[in-house]
Amino acid sequence: MSATAVDVKNVTHRYEAFTALADVSLTVPTGSYTVFLGPSGSGKTTLLSVIGGFLVPQAGSVLINGADMTAVPPAKRPTTTVFQDYALFPHMTIGANVAFGLRMRGIGSKERMRRAHEMLELVGLKGSEAKRPHELSGGQRQRVALARALAVEPSVLLLDEPLGALDLKLRRQMQAELKAIQREVGTSFVHVTHDQEEAMAIGDTIVVMSHGRIEDMGTPERVYLKPATLFAAGFMGQSSFLKGKVRWRTGGRLDIETPVGRLPLPLNGSGADTGDDVVLSIRPEHFVVGAVEGAALSLGSATVEDMTFAGAHHLAVMRHETVDSFRPMVQMPQTGETTPGTTVALGVLPEDVVILKDDS
């Protein structure tokens, strides 16, 4: 088996005036869990359709396990899809639903039923063969859809917002189960979602998409901590942005002029050069509040405008004392006396600042 399960090369697709995919290329390593993340209209579902064979792209090609599948219909691809609305056959039992793909492959009914039983056991629905879809809860239907898609042993399983219809608690629980099942069966999973927390929790690789383009691609940690673009930084978790200009670059260091003053920063993986306009992105938990000392750089002081309680911590929205356009979002302790109106000093460690090209 090839080390690359899916290889998408320069795929472009337009719906009339709307560009759904613009020259997209990516690879999905065999046995990995890949998540396409993006807002609606970003092209993530279109990309999934292209991989699944429901859509032939106008340009580019799709290779699965090294073979060109661009124009091969879904039935003939080693992929199966778990649909957002599950698309269970309402007139069939759960057993028959799961065994459907095997039936299409001409497998005898005894063997089918055995496999269906196995798959249902895998997804934790042992003994539900005789039930019908409408007798199950949303989470159970989701599992049936998964079992049905896995029963034919695809090399790539495509999941189109599979958890979108579930409530939050169930969703978090299913994320863990999906990941566990993926590890158990070893199939490559490609999962589409617009929920960044889901993406981080579940993916080996996250592909951040916007306007038909890939904005960033990497491990969750990398994408979160060192997002490649402004969009990725904004879409994955919360960030506060501060515009600046690179005064000069020397060796591994940058000197950036910002409204809150000059900040000497390490490169932090950025390719910014002298004279570039940049945006500095800082995660809420990276702000240093109160005593700005040691290696921390001072960002001036800001007044707390609003506080929201987020369980493990507080999140404060602040207004910078001198720079109106800078509205830091800062993580504050779970317990503390800070209330709206309080003014605090803000700082940040140089290595925590992400330096992004200002492409706005």
């Binding site: 699944g52 064979g53 429901f54 219909p73 879904p74 039935a75 003939k76 992929t79 199966t80 899809t81 649909f83 957002q84 609305d85 698309a87 269970l88 056959f89 309402p90 007139h91 069939m92 459907f100 793909g101 299409m104 492959r105 019908r132 409408h134 049905r148 898609a149 034919v152």
Partner: protein
């Protein structure tokens, strides 16, 4: 709203409902009652209970033949109408075809035309091409009037969710034919059944097209019409009551068994 106001309104509603039910059932009750009339005239006074008119109906070979013809036409034309309507609905709902609006309008257009005009058009046309008046001709006419209905009912049930389910089947390896026979048709069973049942009802009761397009192998409504024109007697009541009784039992059984189940699903 006071309690007294509420109960007054409820009483008025109940009275209204009873009156309308009375209006709806009046001709049926009279029909059935006088089918047991022990005399020649199906009008008051009721002269006594007798089953002789039912015997007369069952002994009337022309009526029985017409009954059989009606069943053949109703079942046959409804099957064709459902099949054509299903295929068209599937084609229009699932494929990119040019001028879909025009196609849909064409398929539903017969709904806006009187049966008399449809029947007459067919009569003149068949006459020109030398196609004989027959049960088959009437059946063709019945498909024309029922096809739009079947199409509309089935088409309305082919939404995006259903499309996704078909997509899932294809994804799992089903061929186009398998998708239709194993997934689409069974999934739409309630709609197909409703279309078939409605189509049967209309065909069963249709008069003017059958009247214009049949010769000897007439349908039951046409034979009843002849019966009516050939003399006044409670036989007409008896055959009407029989038809009503059988259909009513059928409808109630369907309601209790099929639709109840469908609703739970």
């Amino acid at each position: 709203m006071t309690m007294r106001g509420t109960s007054w309104r409820t009483a008025a509603s109940a009275l209204y409902a009873v009156l309308v039910y009375g209006f709806i059932f009046l001709p049926v009750v009279v029909l059935v009652l006088f089918s047991f009339q022990d005399g020649r005239f199906p009008i008051p006074p009721f002269e006594g209970f007798s089953l002789r008119w039912y015997e007369a109906v069952l002994a009337d070979s022309r009526l029985m033949e017409a009954l059989a013809n009606s069943i053949v036409v109703a079942v046959g034309s409804s099957l064709v109408a459902v099949l054509l309507g299903f295929l068209a609905a599937y084609g229009l709902a699932r494929f990119a075809l040019p001028a879909k609006g025009v196609q849909r309008a064409l398929l539903t257009a017969p709904l806006t035309v009187s049966y008399l005009i449809i029947g007459m058009g067919l009569l003149i046309t068949f006459n020109f091409i030398g196609f004989p008046k027959s049960l088959l001709a009437a059946g063709i006419g019945h498909v024309v009037i029922n096809l739009p209905l079947c199409f509309a009912i089935i088409y309305s049930q082919m939404g995006d969710h259903q499309a996704n389910i078909e997509k899932a089947a294809r994804d799992l390896g089903a061929s186009e034919w398998q998708v239709i026979t194993l997934v689409t048709a069974p999934m739409l069973w309630p709609a197909l059944f409703a279309a078939f049942f409605l189509s049967m009802t209309f065909s069963w009761d249709e008069f003017i097209i059958s009247f214009l397009l049949t010769r000897f192998d007439v349908t039951l409504p046409v034979e009843i019409w002849s019966l009516l024109r050939s003399g006044l007697n409670p036989k007409t009541n008896a055959v009407g009551s029989l038809v009503f009784g059988i259909s009513a039992v059928l409808v109630v059984v369907l309601e209790l068994v099929v639709l109840r189940k469908g609703r739970r699903a």
